[in-house]
């Protein structure tokens, strides 16, 4: 796959000396969904704001479809749709007129069929003539997505798309993102909801204090950095962990009657077979066994914790 967005040595320093981005390099492939994770103030929004033209970089450059976002801004911006973090809509404008306005700004004439299709997909068709001030918060967010899509962008930026929305709407939005991905739209979303990245992203980038700490395929990241835990439920309590089990660093919970064994999922030898042999030697009777994969959240917390 080819890069549709190329971020090269990008830095942003504000007048007060605050370095929002430090020498960021990032290649985003066509058709992928990439999630930029990071705590508040990490630089996620600054990064997408520079790519979209809202903020000027201090140094470095960004290419969208091979077009420099400053020198060839018309071509670059034509390819981009942005769903901002805050709900920013003209309150007295109808949903349909708002979409026509946005499409016009992108140099395109109204396309009734396309507008209808987008509004139907976002469950807004019934509200097409309603003023945006009359809509609920969730609907307003969908209007922002509709406006971002109405000029048929190749790249869609979603800045905290599900911040403050209910679970149902969040799932709806994920479904929309899946559909757009299937249509070949490249999607870049910033979020601090780990589960969001876990649910919809192909790749995950982690930003902290203006540094892009890593960018990995989600599965690779979870495999590389994730730990598995095996929880062994016992039939009877034990007084202490037997000597022959000490090398396994088991954690015993007398309340739950469980032994927990942590191991690297990617390791060649997980030690599970040996553990079961030693459990048998120690005459410990098992009731149940469960394994658990570290979530992106666990990885994220570990990573941020390590770096700080």
């Amino acid at each position: 796959m080819s890069s549709i967005i190329s971020v090269q040595d990008l830095s942003k320093e504000y007048d007060n000396g605050f370095k929002a981005l430090k020498n960021i390099n990032l290649e985003i492939e066509q058709g992928e969904v990439i999630a930029l994770l990071g705590p508040n103030g990490a630089g996620k929004t600054t990064l997408i704001s520079i790519i979209c033209g809202l903020v000027s970089p201090t140094s470095g450059q960004v290419l969208v479809g091979g077009n420099n976002v400053i020198k060839d801004y018309r071509k670059a911006r034509s390819m981009i749709g942005l769903v901002p973090q805050e709900i920013a809509l003209e309150p007295f404008q109808s949903v349909m007129n708002g979409m026509k306005f946005t499409r016009g700004l992108f140099g395109k004439r109204p396309d009734a069929e396309l507008m209808k299709d987008i509004l139907m997909r976002l469950s807004l068709w019934d509200k097409r003539d309603a003023k945006t001030m009359e809509l609920s918060g969730g609907m307003k967010r969908r209007v922002l997505i509709a406006k971002a899509l109405c000029h048929e962008p190749a790249v869609l930026f979603l800045d905290e798309p599900t911040a403050g929305v209910d679970v149902e709407l969040r799932k709806d939005m994920w479904a929309v993102i899946e559909q757009l991905k299937a249509e070949g739209v490249t999607i870049i979303l910033t979020t601090h909801y780990i589960e969001e990245a876990e649910a919809i992203a192909d790749r995950v980038g982690i930003i902290r204090k203006g540094d892009l700490l890593l960018v990995e395929q989600k599965e690779t990241l979870m495999q590389r950095m994730g730990q598995r835990q095996m929880v062994i439920e016992l039939s009877e309590p034990i007084i202490a962990i037997p000597k022959n089990l000490k090398p396994f660093n088991l954690e015993y919970s007398s309340e739950d009657l469980t032994l927990t064994y942590s191991y690297e999922a990617s390791g060649e030898r997980t030690g599970i077979a040996s553990l079961f042999t030693e459990l048998s030697n120690a005459k410990i009777i098992l009731r149940d066994v469960q394994t658990h994969q570290s979530s992106l959240e666990d990885i994220f917390v570990d990573l941020i914790g390590d770096k700080s």
Binding site: R74, L82, A88, G104, L105, K108, R109
Partner: protein, 253 residues
């Protein structure tokens, strides 16, 4: 050029004008009628004629300018400030539209509104006093040039304002006094010599003088000087806007 983009902005702004027609149109017309009643009838009955023109007719160009100037500034400043206030200005920054095209869209709409208001006031005035416009094309040219110039000025105010208070400050504290002291209701030749000299520093004097010339063929200052001042103001505003966009001052981080 992104013509659909300019058209979108223009139509969007004009839609606001139609949506708030009572505020946009009836309010300045009502003010003008009140001015005619107070100044034209009450005071005018004692003044009779100024420069060979009845007082009621004499104040018409000044009254039109008063509304055109204030409406140009308020419409253009509000037009660009409101998206800033709402946050929806992100759409302009992320669209493939140049700053020049944005200015043409917003200022074009604001100037159109002012021209409509100016012509409606002219029509209203003709109900009160007999009007004979000696230089009709020049009158239209002055109206258009003034509307564009002051819409550009309003656009600058809207770009630079951080809150609604600042948005109102210049029109209230600067423009209204300048218009009132710029010969809207009197000929500057009626003032003592010292105040005549002071008045010449008021740029609005040249606008009203030129505009009044297009009506009655008489003016306080020469026509050439009036035109030169309007163009100077126009070019200054364009220069400030160009610099504002080029440097990103008050626009971009």
């Amino acid at each position: 050029m992104n013509f659909p983009g300019m058209k979108s902005i223009y139509l969007f702004e004009m839609a606001r004008f139609y949506r708030t027609i009572s505020q946009s149109l009836f309010s300045p017309v009502l003010s003008t009628v009140l001015y005619f009643i107070v100044f034209g009838s009450a005071i005018g009955s004692r003044i009779q004629e100024v420069d060979g023109v009845s007082y009621g007719a004499f104040i018409v160009p000044g009254l039109i300018m008063l509304s055109v100037l204030t409406q140009s500034i308020s419409n253009a400043s509000f037009g660009i400030y409101f998206p800033k206030f709402l946050g929806s200005i992100y759409e302009l920054h992320t669209a493939p539209i140049s700053y020049l095209e944005i200015v043409i869209g917003y200022v074009g709409a604001a100037a159109t509104k002012s021209i409509i208001i100016g012509l409606v006031i002219l029509a209203t005035a003709s109900l009160f006093v007999p009007l004979h416009i000696q230089h009709f094309p020049a009158m239209i040219a002055f109206l258009v040039l003034t509307s564009i110039s002051f819409s550009l000025f309003g656009f600058i105010i809207g770009l630079w304002s951080k809150n609604f208070e600042q948005l109102q400050l210049v029109p209230l504290l600067v423009i209204t006094p300048l218009v009132f002291l710029g010969g809207s209701f009197y000929s500057i030749s009626m003032l003592p010599p010292f105040w005549q000299t002071v008045t010449l520093f008021n740029p609005v004097v040249y606008l009203i003088s030129g505009f009044r010339w297009s009506f009655y063929g008489t003016s306080d200052v020469s026509l050439g000087l009036s035109l030169a001042m309007i163009f100077l103001f126009l070019i200054t505003c364009l220069g400030v806007i160009w610099w504002t966009f080029k440097t990103g001052f008050k626009i971009k981080d």
